[in-house]
């Protein structure tokens, strides 16, 4: 099976391998194949700019590697995976996120790992170097794992400035660098960490679940936090709670749409239940979170589904295709920006991630 040029590809990382789907019209989807059978794939994505796909393959016994593929059907194993220096006392347990450097950093690949750290590769994942400015951050001794582990799960490069980047670490904080990773500052102003006995601002102890950059305004970010959905505007320098209008402020997945101001989230019932609130509903904003539309056409009811932090993806096309993968093994998709949804795959292994992209 080959993936035809001119397709849209959807990559679903599951606890039991990677599924790759493709479609010419985003109506009829074909399975190109299932890869890394039985092995957890926390994240996989195709980078059309680089013409390469990457998969974070985390063997329970033999550790993590970032595999790559041009064809999406034949995968190449690298010589080595990200590894901490021996003297650190840490060992990379999982790769949670793989992200290209974007237009400002062609040829660069980043990996976010557990225990939390950032790695950089300049040879398509064949070798990795730790971004030790982050690991040496003054707050590092205070970093504590959440239920998902101490994971660096989101990497958001700046498309215009190679020196700037934002990352998210669960149960710790949002961090940013403006000097290419040498130094990092926390970026929590406006967030609250409600598990502490008092609400005073802290450096760490926040719980970013997923971050995304606005499609048009590179200074605007969206955040699904443990307690609320937030918008950040660089000029204001603080997070603004935009949860009003959502059925729950809790959730994991988040994706930016193709138009400025647009984003998608899937609220879940509390941090104890972590399932959809009786029915599957996606929420869309077109104005940076100032208002939300509840989208349910084509989505199941009743439904108590779990969507994890990489469980919402967008394909960057116009109109945007949005994809939601569940731990119950379904993939829901819309090709009209969310007005109508279809099930494009079902009965997969439990899904942890979904990404989508043109395959030009």
């Amino acid at each position: 099976m080959t993936v035809p040029k001119g397709s849209t590809v959807v990559m679903v990382g599951t606890r039991k391998g990677l599924y790759v789907f493709h479609s010419k019209d985003r109506r009829r989807w074909r399975l190109a194949g299932r890869y890394f059978e039985g092995i957890p794939v926390h994240h996989a994505r195709y980078d059309p700019r680089e013409g390469m796909a990457y998969a974070a393959v985390n063997s329970f016994q033999f550790g993590p590697l970032v595999h790559r593929s041009k064809s999406l059907t034949k995968w190449t194993r690298p010589k080595s995976g990200p590894a901490y220096p021996k003297k650190s006392g840490w060992s990379v347990a999982k790769v949670w996120n793989v992200q290209g450097g974007g237009p400002a950093q062609p040829g660069v690949l980043y990996a976010g790992v557990e225990p939390a750290g950032l790695f950089r590769s300049e040879d398509d994942g064949e070798s990795w170097e730790q971004v030790d400015g982050l690991t040496k951050h003054a707050t590092r001794p205070k970093w504590q794992p959440g239920n998902g582990g101490l994971c660096l799960h989101t990497i958001v490069p700046d498309p215009k400035n190679p020196k700037k980047m934002v990352i998210g670490i669960s149960a710790v904080a949002v961090f940013r660098t403006e000097d290419g990773g040498d130094t990092w500052k926390t970026m929590n102003h406006g967030l609250t960490a409600r598990w502490f006995p008092d609400p005073k601002p802290r450096e760490v102890g926040y719980c970013p679940h997923k971050l995304a950059r606005d499609a048009e305004d590179s200074g605007t970010l969206y955040l699904q936090h443990h307690w609320g959905v937030f918008r950040y505007e660089e000029g204001k320098g603080r997070w603004v709670d935009v949860s009003r209008g959502l059925s729950s402020s809790f959730g994991f997945g988040l994706a930016a749409g193709s138009e400025g101001g647009s984003a998608y989230v899937v609220p879940l019932k509390s941090d104890g239940d972590r399932t959809t609130l009786g029915e599957m509903a996606v929420y869309r904003t077109r104005n940076g979170g100032r208002a939300w539309q509840r989208l349910t056409t084509g989505l199941p009811r009743p439904a108590h589904l779990t969507i994890l932090r990489e469980g919402v993806g967008a394909d960057g096309q116009d109109p945007v295709g949005v994809y939601v993968a569940t731990e119950q093994g379904q993939v829901f998709a819309t090709r009209d920006g969310g007005d109508h949804w279809d099930v494009i795959a079902d009965n997969l292994a439990p899904a942890m991630s979904v990404t989508a992209s043109p395959y030009p």
């Binding site: 063997s59 194993r77 650190s88």
Partner: protein
């Protein structure tokens, strides 16, 4: 020495289930193995250099309990088995 590889690591050795390597300790043996098949040592050892928690190493049928492979003596003629832990049941 003869090293018996699990199925998951045979792709490093072009599909071979058994390979040869030498060294006076298990650590040196794995270094020699890695020189022949780059990357394979990282699958057996943690970044800290100890044997991965869910990888078992047997020398002549006896399970290695010392986590630091540099402290495990091996000799010519030994047979080393590398075996992943039994998995399954939780998910």
């Amino acid at each position: 020495m003869r090293i018996v590889l699990p199925a998951a690591l045979r792709e490093y050795a072009r599909g071979a289930s058994e390979v040869k390597a030498s060294g006076r300790t298990l650590g040196a043996l794995l270094a020699d193995l890695d020189a022949k098949f780059p990357g394979i040592r990282q699958r057996i050892l943690e970044d800290t250099g100890v044997i991965r928690q869910y990888v078992n190493v047997f020398v002549n049928g006896g399970q290695v309990e010392e986590p630091d492979p540099a402290r495990v003596r091996v000799e010519d003629g030994d047979t080393v088995h590398i075996i992943p832990s039994v998995a399954g049941g939780s998910r």
